[in-house]
């Protein structure tokens, strides 16, 4: 910073200059006073001498009127005592001298004429008329010294000495004052520089402090930002919503994810606990409130799972965790927490539970099926064939289970069910002996197992006695639905050809009963099983109810 140098020369010059000016002013004042005094002295002298002349004039009126020169001379003589009076004369009405005298060196005029008073150097001459009433009786002449020169010189000399002394005092005072002014100016400069230095130091300290604060603040902010970013990242990664509920005003501050848990965008109104409750599934509202009240009262962490209504009849499951804060008096002030959408987990749980139920059901069904197979096989087969027949049927059952397990018991296509069932009876090289034709129809697990067992019986019969028991025999399976878009029933035809001539069986065995009775009953359908001589023909007419079909 550039510091302006103080002006040093001007005040130093001003001291003596001012002193000279003051001295000159004093001199002028002295002269003015002398002139004024001179004038006043003159006026005073004029007045004094005028009064003397008037007194003389009044005194000699009678003497002049009655021509008493002795009396006039007496009055004139009385003025001799005044040494300033140099000449005095009394004149009659004709202007002729009646009485008078003159000091040496002065002259008395022989005739007199009344004229204005006149100063003549150090002399003053006054003439006044002698008037009695309205009659002029004569005149008076008076000439005096106004003030002797030595006296005037002495007077003015004294004044001059006084002025000189005053000027000297002023000069000394001025010099002293100039010195003081210089010292004062230097002090001012030093003080100003010191003040500037102190200000600069203060500024520097302040700047340093501010810088330190800024650094600390910036570090703190950076750390806070990092922490916030990490938290945000964590919240986003975990798809965690955050929320703060003011327990006194019931106002709610919700994050983007928390709002999303309720199917809301950032602009939708959602700022009160009432809004929240209105979007909780009606069946869960009481529990939600109960959980929250309990957590606040017992000062425990809130952990609550409930469903939210996200619109269009859809619901979601959320897990909410939170903790209340309390003031000094122990009153709850607010509750802060996070939320997590657990819909997927809940659905998985549900599905698992359903699967377990289904498995339980399947196992029971399978065991019942196995039991039924064993009983039926034992009734229709003799001891040596029982084992083969039983194992074969169990294998078919297992195959159906394999197929369903492969698709997680989520149903199977009709084509896969028939294909897998036929596989043990035709090698890959003879695959063309079996033709499967028809639209894709998805079967539910029950239907898949039942149809597997039914086609297993048909295939076993064909392999043992029918077209697949000889080289060149064929099986054609084709099926159709009444409507591609919205089928209500399916017709399946099993036709054997190229096999030995068929003769109707003498009694109905397990397979026939399973196909004709069991299947028809299970699916509310109609099954026709014909043992025609050219080959077995089975026609199935089955409704595509939910009992049978999973999906089109």
């Amino acid at each position: 910073m550039r510091v302006a140098r103080p002006k040093t020369s001007t005040p130093r010059r001003l001291g003596p200059t001012m002193t000279v000016i003051v001295a000159l002013a004093l001199l002028l004042a002295g002269l003015s006073m002398a002139i004024l005094n001179e004038r006043q002295v003159k006026v005073q002298k004029l007045r004094e001498v005028g009064v003397q002349a008037e007194i003389l004039s009044g005194s000699v009126a009678g003497a002049l009127a009655f021509d008493d020169r002795a009396a006039a001379a007496e009055y004139v003589g009385a003025l001799r005592a005044n040494r300033d009076v140099e000449a005095v004369g009394v004149y009659d009405a004709q202007g002729k001298l009646a009485a008078g005298y003159a000091r040496p060196g002065s002259r008395l005029p022989q005739t007199n004429r009344v004229e204005p008073a006149a100063f003549d150097g150090v002399h003053l001459t006054i003439t006044v008329p002698v008037v009695q009433g309205s009659t002029q009786l004569g005149s008076v002449y008076l000439r005096t010294l106004t003030e002797p020169l030595p006296r005037r010189l002495a007077r003015y000399g004294a004044v001059g000495v006084l002025i000189l002394m005053a000027s000297l005092v002023v000069a000394v005072f001025g010099a002293s004052n100039a010195s003081l002014s210089e010292a004062h100016r230097k002090l001012q400069v030093e003080m100003a520089e010191r003040a500037r230095a102190e200000a600069a130091l203060r500024l520097s300290q302040q700047a340093e402090a501010e810088a330190q604060i800024a650094i600390a603040t910036e570090r703190g902010r950076a750390a806070l930002r990092q922490s916030e970013q990490q938290l945000e990242l964590a919240l986003r990664a975990g798809r965690l919503g955050t929320w703060v509920l003011d327990l006194q005003t019931q106002r709610l501050a919700a994050s983007e994810f928390f709002r999303a848990n309720f199917g809301l965008g950032s602009d939708d109104p959602f700022d009160g606990y009432a809004d929240l409750l209105s979007r909780v599934h009606p069946d869960d509202r009481a529990r939600q409130k109960q959980d929250m009240d309990a957590a606040i009262e017992k000062r425990t962490d809130l952990e609550s799972e409930y469903r939210t209504l996200v619109g269009d009849g859809e619901t979601r499951w959320i897990l909410v965790r939170g903790r209340a804060a309390y003031d000094e008096g122990g009153a709850p002030t607010r509750m802060t927490g996070v939320s997590l959408d657990i819909t997927a987990r809940k659905r998985a749980d549900e599905r698992q539970r359903l699967l377990l139920d289904e498995l339980n059901h399947r196992v029971k069904n399978t065991l019942a099926t196995v039991q039924s197979i064993a009983i039926q096989t034992s009734r229709t087969a003799d001891a040596p064939s029982f084992e083969q027949a039983f194992l074969s049927r169990i294998a078919a059952l297992a195959q159906a289970h394999d197929l369903l397990t492969a698709v997680a018991w989520d149903g199977a296509s009709l084509k896969d069910v028939i294909g897998r069932t036929m596989a043990p009876y035709v090698s890959d090289a003879q695959a063309d002996r079996v033709s499967l034709a028809g639209p894709n129809v998805r079967l539910n697990p029950n239907a898949a197992v039942s149809l597997t067992m039914a086609f297993h019986e048909l295939a076993t019969n064909a392999g043992k006695y029918g077209s697949l028991s000889v080289v060149g025999g064929r099986v054609n399976v084709d099926w159709r639905v009444d409507s591609a878009s919205n089928p209500t029933f399916i017709e399946i035809d099993w036709r054997e050809a190229g096999g030995p001539q068929v003769s109707p069986p003498t009694r109905r065995g397990f397979g026939s009963r399973l196909v004709e009775t069991g299947l028809a009953r299970e699916f509310d359908g109609q099954i026709e099983l014909h043992f025609a001589p050219e080959g077995v023909w089975c026609h199935m007419h089955l409704p595509l109810s939910r009992k049978m079909q999973l999906a089109a």
Binding site: G58, S59, A61, G62, A63, A65, F66, D67, D68, R69, A70, A71, E74, Q132, G133, S134, T135, L137
Partner: protein, 187 residues
């Protein structure tokens, strides 16, 4: 003060009288008397500036100032010459010669001469209280306000200020100072 102190006054008139006597031995008495009355005639109006009359003494601001001579006139033409053209303020000075005077005569200065019709004492009695400066001549008391006296060959005068006061005229101290004696009590 009953009388002004007598002072030695050598005046021009005395010298004049002396010269007149010295250089006119014949008829010196007549000459001296003539000069004396000439001086007295001049005095008759010279008193006026030193005397103050009440305003009622003048009929108007410009009415004449009347110098009256009762009875025999000792001044003759010298009086007329002396007052010729003289003015007392705005008042022209005139001379009246009367055998008898009274309060209505309009005189301001009255010289009491010898009159067969009215003695000086009678005139003074008649005029007592009137604003008239009465002047008498001679060595005896007449009761006039001013009485001419000759002392040391000079015409001088005595003043009876009580008589002046009785006649309501005011005499200046300057005139009193010129008097030989000033009588303050009534005679």
């Amino acid at each position: 003060m009953a009388e002004a102190p007598p002072t030695a006054r050598a005046t021009g008139l005395a010298a004049l009288l002396a010269v007149a006597v010295t250089f006119t031995p014949q008829g010196a008495q007549a000459q001296a008397g003539s000069i004396e009355y000439a001086v007295k005639a001049a005095y008759l109006y010279k008193f006026a500036p030193f005397v103050e009359w009440p305003p009622a003494a003048f009929a108007s601001a410009s009415s004449p100032f009347q110098v009256c001579i009762l009875g025999r006139d000792p001044f003759g033409a010298s009086l007329d010459q002396a007052i010729s053209g003289q003015r007392i303020g705005e008042h022209r000075v005139t001379v009246r010669r009367l055998d008898k005077v009274d309060a209505a005569s309009g005189c301001h200065v009255l010289y009491l001469g010898a009159s067969p019709s009215q003695t000086a004492a009678e005139a003074l009695r008649v005029l007592r209280g009137s604003p008239i400066l009465t002047v008498s001549d001679g060595g005896r008391e007449t009761g006039a306000i001013i009485r001419f006296v000759v002392k040391d060959n000079r015409v001088r005068f005595d003043i009876d200020s009580a008589a002046a006061a009785a006649n309501h005229v005011t005499i200046s101290s300057k005139l009193l100072a010129m008097a030989i004696t000033v009588r303050t009590g009534t005679s």
